[in-house]
């Protein structure tokens, strides 16, 4: 098997605005080893099958140390969060979270936020009043999901400001390090510091809610007896709550920003959405296929040799799946490079697939649907100021750093 040098180009910020030609090149060989080490899998059916293959591990402790992509977003003093574990530990934690978050035990948790989400969206858009231009990221996409997560978890409104600060800092650990060694060290120090403050804050909140539970998720987690299994320990709660916070933060931002960018590049679709707001439901699915916030899934390991598409990935290999490439695989999606807002049979990898399938998907869908429909309804004659916009560094969680949008006025 030949190895390729595509990963370097994919990670290269110069290609961030349009990585899709690189993915197309990658797909010519469904499974390849990159010269930098990891095995890259880029075609739909192969990704689909590896995401369901019990020989593939997500446990961070199985990963060769040199295969780690960075110091990571997790607090080293806490146990791994459930996405970095395999069954049975993963399953137990995921079940415990789902008991408080989704059906059958808590079927109304996300749906119940409907009204609040609309209110937050309207409130943020109202603040555009009197302006001719906004930065969608700073003015909308960024503040929006954190506010929602705070409401979901039960972070009191008066603490939201502090909470935003820690969350922002912790989330920057996702970005690759930049600057001099001293600057990088300072960067990590600030992240560790934010982790500790966040953990301290959350412990206090958990303790409070344990004594006086409310209708929120932290109360539910803190008081859950776990049915027939061990309830979450405090350290487990801290690492998993931090994960929920980061995951709910870094991905929805990109989903909404990519969404507006795509709509502004497809003015006919934008017009269509204005007259038919229900189009937003399939449209968000197509967005998740066409411009998924999570482009790469690195940091998986093979527990055994796996033969796939004529190639054997050896045991212990570092495996990188490229769902954003699978989403554009012509073997699976007709005309994959076209944005078709009502595309039928759209089983994309926008939320991953298999046992680690994103638990936040119902919330993310609701947030993106509400936000995009409302932005499109209220902004008069919106247009891109810059195309492509500047992108953030991260290649795995890809999205614009800023998205300046000009508009003529605001509808009620």
């Amino acid at each position: 098997m030949t190895s390729v040098a595509l990963l370097g180009q994919i990670l290269d910020h110069a290609n961030r605005a349009d990585p899709y030609p690189l993915y197309a090149e990658l797909r010519r060989t469904p499974v390849v080893r990159d010269e930098s080490g990891p095995y890259l899998v880029s075609t739909y059916w192969e990704i689909h099958s590896l995401l369901r293959d019990p020989r593939v591990s997500s446990d961070i402790r199985n990963l060769a140390p040199e295969a780690k992509t960075g110091p990571g977003t997790e607090d080293p003093d806490l146990p791994p969060s459930f996405i970095r574990l395999d069954p049975p530990d993963h399953d137990r934690l995921r079940r415990l979270i789902m008991r408080t978050y989704g059906p059958p035990h808590s079927p109304r948790r996300v749906y119940g936020l409907h009204g609040e989400i609309s209110g937050i969206v309207s409130g943020l858009i109202d603040r555009f009043q009197g302006r001719g231009q906004i930065d969608l990221v700073d003015d909308f996409s960024y503040p929006f999901p954190v506010t929602v997560i705070c409401r979901l978890l039960g972070v009191p409104q008066e603490d939201e400001q502090r909470f935003h600060g820690w969350a922002d800092t912790v989330a920057t650990a996702i970005e690759p390090p930049v600057g001099t060694p001293e600057e990088q060290e300072a960067h990590w120090r600030s992240i560790r510091e934010a982790h500790h403050q966040l953990a301290g804050y959350l412990s206090g909140l958990i303790e409070q809610r344990r004594r006086a539970p409310r209708e929120d998720m932290i109360s539910a987690l803190a008081t859950d007896r776990g049915a027939d299994e061990n309830p979450m320990s405090l350290p487990e709660m801290l690492s998993n709550l931090t994960l929920l916070l980061i995951a709910g933060h870094e991905t929805t931002v990109n989903l909404i920003t990519n969404g507006m960018l795509t709509l502004l590049r497809h003015p006919d679709t934008l017009k269509q959405l204005r007259t038919d707001p229900d189009l937003v439901i399939p449209l968000v699915e197509e967005l998740l296929r066409f411009e998924p916030p999570v482009q790469l899934l690195p940091e998986r390991t093979t527990l055994d040799d796996i033969e796939i598409a004529g190639t054997t990935i050896p045991q212990g290999a570092s495996l990188w799946l490229v769902p954003a490439s699978g989403n554009r695989d012509p073997q699976r999606f007709p005309e994959p490079d076209r944005f078709i807002p009502d595309r039928p049979d759209n089983q994309h990898f926008g939320f991953g697939s298999g046992i680690h399938n994103c638990i936040g998907s119902p919330l993310a869908r609701l947030e993106a649907q509400t936000a995009l429909a409302e932005l499109v309804r209220r902004l008069d004659n919106p247009r891109l100021v810059e195309d492509p916009p500047p992108y953030r560094h991260n290649a795995a969680l890809r999205g614009p750093q800023h998205l300046p949008i000009a508009f003529d006025g605001l509808s009620r």
């Binding site: 369901r52 019990p54 020989r55 446990d59 395999d86 069954p87 055994d304």
Partner: protein, 462 residues
Amino acid sequence: MAVDGSLERLRREGRIVVVGASLAGLRAAETLREEGFTGTLTMIGDEPYEPYDRPPLSKQVLLGRVPADHTALPRRRAIEAQWRLGVAATGLDLSAKRVALADGTSVEYDRLLIATGVRSRPWPNELEAGLDGVFVLRTRDDATRLRHRLKAGPSRVLVIGAGFTGSEIASVCRERDLPVTVAERGPTPLSGALGSVIGDVAAQLHHQHGVDLRCGVMVTGLEGDGAGRLRRAHFSDGGTVDAEVAVVALGATRNTEWLAGSGLAAGPRGIACDAGCRAFDVRGIVADDVFVAGDVARSPHPLFGYQFLSLEHWGNAVAQAAVAAHNMICRGEERRPHLWTPYFWSAQFGVNIKSVGVPNMADQIIVSQGSLGEHRFTAAYGYQGRVIAAVTFDQAKWLEFHQRQIEQAAPFPPPFTTVDRRAEGMRPVPAGFPDPSVPTHGPQVTVSGHSPTDQRVTFTPA
């Protein structure tokens, strides 16, 4: 080309008749229209209702969450059919291409699809079966009646047979807080479908949820009071139990009696057909214009030694209907085989059970992930060194992997390392199926005659 011309005419103005207006029948009709059939489509069903879904009947409907008349199957498209509901097909004349109906009329066809499914096997003693309080569960009406009775809060329910349906009913009773006794002839619940290793887990679920489970016994008699109401059941071990309601869940019989004398290879095990869903006649020759789909079909599966399989699986009915419909209106070389890998699900005692492949062909089983004791696991079934089936309890997300393994005839026991492999899953054990050499059905077809010219196939419904 003459052949193509007539096929074109069939697609444009032909007459297609579907007997059995339920899941397979409806999905086939939809496929026919989708693939461009514009002729006359007649749907014949002996139930008075438009096609509805059965799996909820033993789950949400009995629980009282969904009314029985809210189970209509969603329509995927308009089918513009002539509906003949509430009237059974009573006979088939293959040479005249005509279906006789119970109201004395008949319908002619160019192509016929048979999707008459199965019905519950009734309690064998007719007098006892007629007692007030004795039920079966197959149809919407059955479900309505049983639900009504469960709602009244009977002092005890007896479920006869702990297969999937019986176990689901027992689970519903416990969820409704009704005392329930389950009588099962085999060593454990589900042992016929999944073997006794998994059956033991099922038994634990019954016990954990407070079911009075009695295995290794048969119900020998049902006793009524003076008013003809069920009062008591007698068991083969001499025991008795007092119950006001008994649900007979002893499996199903194929609805093929109406085909008696038609010349089709139709009997108690279903209607034999080829992999393209074309029915066989009793000589083993395909009847070109007659197709079969769903629970009533029995078709050879190349993956399982070309064995004829009859499956009572929802997904199979859907997939087979689509293949049958496609093959009914296309040219020979465009026909598709029904290569469905059997797949089944059930929900009981809060556990989501799924299986893929043909477990009861297996001789061995291994717990490939998770643990039987935790009631959360994936187990693979082996037959002569290859993977033939898998079952999951609350671990459905691994099933697709096992399906590929089955389809690729992968070795058994699975030699590789996986996540969540436990010590108990390192060595295969016998799967614990009843001895397959003991026949459960009589012979159906015999061959007689000495010289090739006078050899004959004789068909004897068992």
